[in-house]
Symmetry: C2
Subunit: 349 residues, 2 copies
DNA sequence: AGAGGCGGGGCGAACGTTCGCCCGAACGTT
DNA sequence: AACGTTCGGGCGAACGTTCGCCCCGCCTCT
C-alpha cells in the first residue's frame, strides 16, 4: 500500500519487529507451517499487510533451491512469415504458469546449437527449474540432453518411438483424416497430398492420416499424388503445377496440404491453370493461420487447439517439478477442421 | 564438462578447496576484482574449469540485489488474429538481452488491470529489474505507475506529451506520408484515409502523416475521406463502401489505411464494387503482416523495423539498469514502404 | 505428585555469493 | 633501523529466506 519508502524494502524482520515475534515465526505463519497461536498469527498477518511486506523471491529461491521459472525456447522462423501460434501459445502457457506461481523465461536458440550449451547453462546456473520444448522432431538432440541430464521438461510435440518423455501433441493424423474425409464428401475421388520430407515427424503423421482416410473411403492412391516440399508457398505452387500436368484420368481434383503455405501455393497454381477454386478444385491447409480467411476464396484448414496445449503442458511440467507424477505423460489433442470456400462446391450446402 | 554428478552442484567452495585458497579469493578471481597473483589466478581458473563450476545466479542475485531479468508484458489479442510482430520482436529482444547477460520474463496482463498489481508485484518481490512496455497509448496507467515507483523501463511506443520517459517508436507519420506519396506518384488525386478513433496515439500520428503528404502534394482533402473504425476487416469494408458511395467527383480512387486488416476490408469492398485493384483503385496497408503478399493482388504495406526496435529497447533498458544514461532516451525509427500490386497501375513500371 | 504429551515459539544454521576490512610479508625509502 | 607502501589473500558479515531442533510451560493421565 504505502508507496513512500523507495530504497530499503520491507523484509520479514521488519514484520517480526512490528509484531513482536522472532522473524522465523513470521516465516512460519506466512507459509502456514508449524503451530502458532491464532492471535499471534493474526498480529503477524496484520503487520505484514500494514507494512506492505512482499517476500523476496530470490532469497526464497536460494533457500528452497527452486526458482519457479520455466524456460521456453523456440526457433524464430524466416523473416517473411509469422509463427501462427506463438502468440496464443505463450499467452496460454504464461497464464497457466502464473496461476501456479511460476513464470516463463524466454531464451534464444539456434537450431544447430549444442543443447548442452544453452539448456545446460540455464539449468546449471539455477536460472530455471524446467523447460518447455517446442518444434520437436525425430532424434531431437535437446530431448536426449534433457533426459540424460535428468532435467524436468515437457515437449509440445512427439519424437521417435525410442525416446520416452512427457509430451502434449496435436493429432496431425486425425487432422488430415478429417480434411480428406471432407474432400471425399464434397465428391472428390482423386485427392493429392502435399507433404513435407520424410525427415519430418509431423509430416509423416499427417501423411498417414491422408493414407488412412483414402483407404477408409475405398479410394486408390496414385503414387504420383504424394508430393513433398518445404514449408513455402512457391513449393506448393510448383508441386501443384506438376499434379495438374498429369494426364486427364490421373489428374487430381483436390489437394490436402500439410500446411497453409503449401495450400496457398496450390490455390495459386490452380487459379493459374484456370480452375475455379472450390467448384473445380478443392484445397485444404493446416494450422488455420490467421489471415487465410481473407484469401479469395477463404482457405479451409485444420486448426490446432493451441490454447489447450499450452495449459496442459504447463500443468504437466509443474506437476513434474513438484515431484508428482502427472496422470498422463503423453497427451494427444484433437484438432478441428475449419471448412471454408476453398474446398466446398457451390452447389452443395 | 563432466556430466557425472547429478545432485550436489559444484560451488565456489569446491573450487576453492581444489585450488587451495579461501572461497572468497575464488570469487575475486572469477569476477576479476582485487589483486591476486597470476599463478594463483591460473590455478583457480583451472580448478573451476575442471570441476565444471557454474555460478549460482540466485545467490548472486540475492547478494547483488539484481536479478538480471527483464519483464515483458503484452496484450494478447483477439483469437482470430496473430500479433504480426511478436515473434520477431521477442527474438530480437531476447537475443540482445542475452548478449548482456539478461533474460526476458513474460508475464500476462489484462488491459484493464491495475498496473500496481501486476507490475508492482513483480518488482517488489524482486522478480525483475526492469520492464519493456509495448502497445502504449495516451495516458497509459502503466507508465504513470512505473514512473511513480521509479522502476526502470523502456517503452515500445510513445504516449502523451506530458509524460517524459525513455522509448523507442516507429515513425507512423513518416510511414503514412510514404504511402500517400506513393499513391500520388501512381496518379491518384482523391485519396482517402482509413484510421483509428482519435483515442489512439498511433492512429493520430498516422493521420497527421496522411494530412501532411496530401498538403505537400497540393491536394485538397475532403473531410468525407477521413474515416475511422476498429482494427477489423469488416470495418475496413464498411468504411470503403461508404467512400465508394460518394458522388462521382468526390469519390476517392485510392485509400491509405492505418492497418492491414482495414486495407484488406478496403480491397474486398472495391472488388465487390467491380473495381480492378491497382489499376482502378489503389490500397495501402500498415504493418506488412505476413501473408498479405499472398492476397490477390498482394497488398502494399508499411513495414516496421521490428528487429531494430527490439535491439534498441533492450540496449537502452540495460544502460538504465547499469545506472548509465543512454545517449538517446527518445528514439524514432523509420519504417519502409513495401510496394506491391494493390497500389500499382499495371501500365507503369 | 511425577511422567508424558502437546501447543507455542525461539534460535542457530544454511542456501551460495559478494563486499569491505584487515593482516602479514616484501620491498623501497628516509 | 624504523617507517610507509604495495601486493596477495584471508576472514567476517551480509543479502532474505526456510528448516529443523530445542525449550518452556501447561494440561492430562496414571
Amino acid at each position: 500500500m504505502h508507496r513512500g519508502q523507495r530504497r530499503r524494502r520491507v523484509t520479514i524482520k521488519d514484520v517480526a519487529a512490528a509484531a513482536g515475534v522472532s522473524y522465523q515465526t513470521v516465516s512460519k505463519v506466512l507459509n502456514g507451517q508449524g503451530s502458532v497461536a491464532p492471535e499471534t498469527a493474526q498480529r503477524i498477518w496484520e503487520a505484514a499487510r500494514r507494512l506492505g511486506y512482499r517476500p523476496n523471491v530470490t532469497a526464497r529461491s536460494l533457500r528452497k533451491r527452486a526458482t519457479h521459472l520455466i524456460g521456453y525456447s523456440w526457433y524464430p522462423i524466416s523473416p517473411d512469415q509469422t509463427n501462427p501460434i506463438l502468440d496464443k501459445f505463450l499467452s496460454s502457457a504464461v497464464r497457466a504458469a502464473e496461476e501456479a506461481g511460476y513464470h516463463i523465461l524466454l531464451f534464444p536458440t539456434e537450431p544447430d546449437q549444442d543443447p548442452a550449451d544453452s539448456y545446460g547453462r540455464l539449468v546449471e546456473t539455477n536460472r530455471v527449474d524446467g523447460f518447455i520444448l517446442s518444434t520437436t522432431n525425430y532424434d531431437d538432440p535437446r530431448i536426449r540432453y534433457l533426459l540424460d541430464a535428468e532435467v524436468p521438461f515437457v515437449a509440445f510435440g512427439r519424437s521417435g518411438p525410442d525416446l520416452r518423455f512427457p509430451y502434449v501433441d496435436v493429432d496431425g493424423r486425425a487432422g488430415l483424416r478429417a480434411a480428406v474425409h471432407h474432400l471425399v464428401e464434397q465428391g472428390h475421388r482423386r485427392i493429392a497430398f502435399l507433404g513435407w520430407p520424410p525427415s519430418s515427424r509431423q509430416g509423416s503423421a499427417r501423411r498417414n492420416g491422408y493414407l488412412e482416410a483414402m483407404a477408409q473411403a475405398g479410394l486408390p492412391v496414385d503414387p504420383e499424388w504424394i508430393r513433398v516440399g518445404e514449408h513455402r508457398v512457391t513449393d506448393g505452387r510448383r508441386l501443384t503445377q506438376e499434379l495438374l500436368a498429369l494426364p486427364q484420368g490421373r489428374r487430381p481434383t483436390a489437394v490436402a496440404a500439410v500446411s497453409d503455405l503449401l495450400a496457398i501455393g496450390a490455390m495459386q497454381a490452380a487459379r493459374d491453370a484456370g480452375l475455379r477454386l472450390g467448384a473445380e478444385f478443392g484445397v485444404t491447409g493446416f494450422d488455420d493461420t490467421p489471415g487465410i480467411q481473407h484469401l479469395m476464396p477463404p482457405l479451409t484448414s485444420v486448426r490446432q487447439p493451441v490454447w489447450e496445449a499450452g495449459q496442459r503442458i504447463v500443468e504437466m511440467l509443474i506437476a513434474l517439478l513438484r515431484g508428482e507424477t502427472p496422470e498422463e505423460r503423453e497427451v494427444l489433442l484433437e484438432p478441428r477442421l475449419i471448412v471454408r470456400a476453398s474446398s466446398v462446391k457451390p452447389g452443395e450446402s
